[in-house]
């Protein structure tokens, strides 16, 4: 069932790392995450100086709340913008170039191909997160960061990455045009991220539904060091749902008429 997963994974990783899009995305990610980290830590630094003369202020100053949590929140949003650019060519380019016909005449199963591409994007996504390591190292010199919060925040980013990638692959599978794929992925992810903000407009039941659907809701706990299994379940189910839909799109060619 997963025949061909490794060859497709290796091929897509190779092509990804040869692609200028990946390096542009990595650079943008590094710049933006670095900027947000700098602005949060600079603000924290200013408040720390003020707090040296104000004991009340020094009590509420907290590295995790003022730097770590917003930093990882910002990273999540940056990745929501960039992952569509990593996934846009996965299937769209193959369909446009005709290589998808070549691919599906090798002994490669549909799920092997899909998961190979999925994990290839995940690996590229994780490689981009390397740019956050210097920020974490700096944090250790600034104070005593809570490693539990940092670890759970990275887990949250990883799980969100699975979800972003799964939806991005779906968007890539329904079109031959990379730009259309990126726009569908970005628009869909932004909608699913922000839909919870409308919870107060929808009444009690609808508000709860909107809040549950919203991805932003499910990342909050990770940023404060809580690994809620409901949130883990949400991201796995979200990813599985869009991967299943993508496999159905690929299997459309098996419709006999």
């Amino acid at each position: 069932m997963l025949k061909g997963l490794l060859p497709v994974l290796k091929k897509d990783v190779l092509i990804m790392f040869y692609s200028p899009i990946y390096y542009v995305c990595s650079l943008i990610f590094a710049l933006l995450s670095g900027y947000f980290f700098y602005s949060n830590t600079a603000y924290f630094g200013i408040l720390s100086l003020q707090a040296s003369g104000d004991p009340f202020l020094s009590d509420i100053l907290n590295l995790s709340d003022m730097v770590v949590k917003p930093f990882f929140g910002n990273i999540m949003v940056i990745l929501l913008l960039l992952v569509p650019l990593l996934t846009m060519r996965s299937f769209a380019e193959e369909k446009k170039q005709g290589t998808i016909e070549l691919l599906f005449t090798y002994p490669i199963s549909d799920w092997g191909c899909l998961l190979g591409k999925f994990f290839a994007v995940i690996l590229s996504y994780l490689a981009m997160l390397i740019w956050t390591i210097p920020c974490i190292v700096i944090l250790t010199f600034l104070g005593k960061p809570d490693w539990g919060i940092i670890s759970s925040a990275y887990l949250g980013i990883f799980l969100a990455g699975l979800a972003f990638t799964a939806y991005g692959l779906f968007a890539s599978s329904i079109t031959e045009n990379q730009i259309v794929s990126a726009v569908i992925a970005f628009g869909g992810l932004l909608l699913l991220w922000a839909v919870g903000w409308m919870k107060r407009l929808g009444g009690e039941l609808m508000g709860k539904i909107l809040e549950y659907i919203s991805m932003a809701t499910h990342t909050e706990s990770f940023a404060i060091g809580i690994i809620d299994t409901r949130d883990v379940f949400y991201f796995f189910m979200f990813s599985a749902f869009w991967l299943m839909l993508t496999s159905r799109i690929l299997q459309q060619r098996y419709i006999k008429r």
Binding site: K3, G4, L6, P7, V8, K10, K11, L14, I15, Y18, S19, Q97, G98, T99, E101, L102, F104, T105, Y106, P107, I108, S109, R253, Y254, K256, R257
Partner: protein
């Protein structure tokens, strides 16, 4: 080796191929011919298990395409039309991916890749990016990836499309060599190529199979139902030769050049004897008389006309 029975394929409401049946024995080189839109690519996509048939069955190397498509894909090497390739990879990297996909063991990979690179004359291009290759070089990469893993069945869709004459000759020679060991199904528009390279042909038109067999078999089939053609060289002028049309067994007389004529006769036993006797009786000096065999182009066109006439 390949058995196709009653294959029909619809794309939605549009019929692509209808009730196609043929068999290709091991070790044959078979040409799949037909005009644009005849259904050749559809048949190849069904054989390679990229698409399923709407009706009918396909057995490749004894494997049913509906039950074990991955098993069939392991037995075949396929070169699609226009050779889609990954432009961002080098030739070596791409062939490495193909070897990996086809399940070639890591210890054998280098040898197998070197072998196909050598067979396809790609030694100078192995480290170059595919997008930097010429059309002919890309075709050869396409053929190399089909050959990887030494499949016993090769399916080639227009392998010489867009190549210059020297490259066309190279690819044809390679296919002839491969045909000595493998079963080859070759889709082509270029009829002389099919007649040079293939043992037999399958002709499609409007999604239907209209003829199958060796060139001799197809000629025989047409001879029985069509005129017999003779080449005649005489000392007579065209006006004199046209008088032959008064004979009831002569259908037409065409001048090819001065003193050389093509004469069409109704199918008869000993037609050539009757013709030579008639020419001599008219006082015409007969220098040469021989039967003209139909070329594949003529067979193809006549079959299409016959088929279109019946369909209409």
């Amino acid at each position: 080796m390949i058995q196709v029975k009653g294959v029909t394929k619809y794309y939605g409401q549009r019929l692509a191929v209808k009730d196609i049946s043929f068999e290709i024995m091991q070790g044959r080189v078979v040409g799949l011919l037909g005009p644009n839109g005849a259904g050749k690519t559809t048949i190849l996509r069904i054989l390679t298990c990229y698409l399923p048939p709407t009706e009918g069955s396909v057995l490749v190397a004894g494997i049913d395409s509906q039950k074990d498509p991955l098993g069939i894909r392991e037995k075949i090497g396929f070169m699609p039309e226009n050779v889609p390739l990954y432009g961002d990879m080098s030739v070596l990297q791409f062939l490495g991916f193909v070897a990996d996909s086809k399940g070639i063991a890591a210890r054998d990979r280098r040898y197998e890749i070197s072998k196909v690179i050598s067979q396809c004359g790609l030694e100078q291009q192995e480290k170059r990016l595919i997008r930097h290759l010429s059309k002919g070089q890309r075709q050869r990469v396409g053929l190399a990836q089909a050959l990887l893993g030494n499949p016993q069945i090769l399916i080639l869709d227009e392998p010489t499309a867009g190549l210059d004459p020297a490259q066309v000759l190279e690819i044809r020679q390679l296919v002839v060599e491969l045909g000595k060991e493998k079963t080859v199904l070759l889709s082509t528009h270029i009829l002389p190529e099919a007649s040079q390279v293939c043992n037999e042909v399958i002709i499609l038109n409007n999604g239907r199979l209209i003829a199958q067999g060796t060139l001799s078999e197809l000629r025989e089939k047409l001879k029985r139902s069509e005129e017999m053609r003779f080449f005649v060289r005489t000392n007579a002028d065209f006006k004199t030769m046209l008088e032959l049309k008064n004979e009831n067994f002569v259908v037409d007389v065409n001048e090819k050049q001065k003193g050389e004529y093509e004469i069409l006769l109704k199918p008869e036993v000993d037609a050539s004897g009757k013709l030579s006797k008639t020419i001599v009786e008219k006082g015409i000096s007969l220098f040469e008389l021989r039967s003209m065999e139909l070329s594949l182009e003529e067979i193809f066109v006549r079959l299409l006309i016959y088929e279109d006439g019946h369909t209409n």
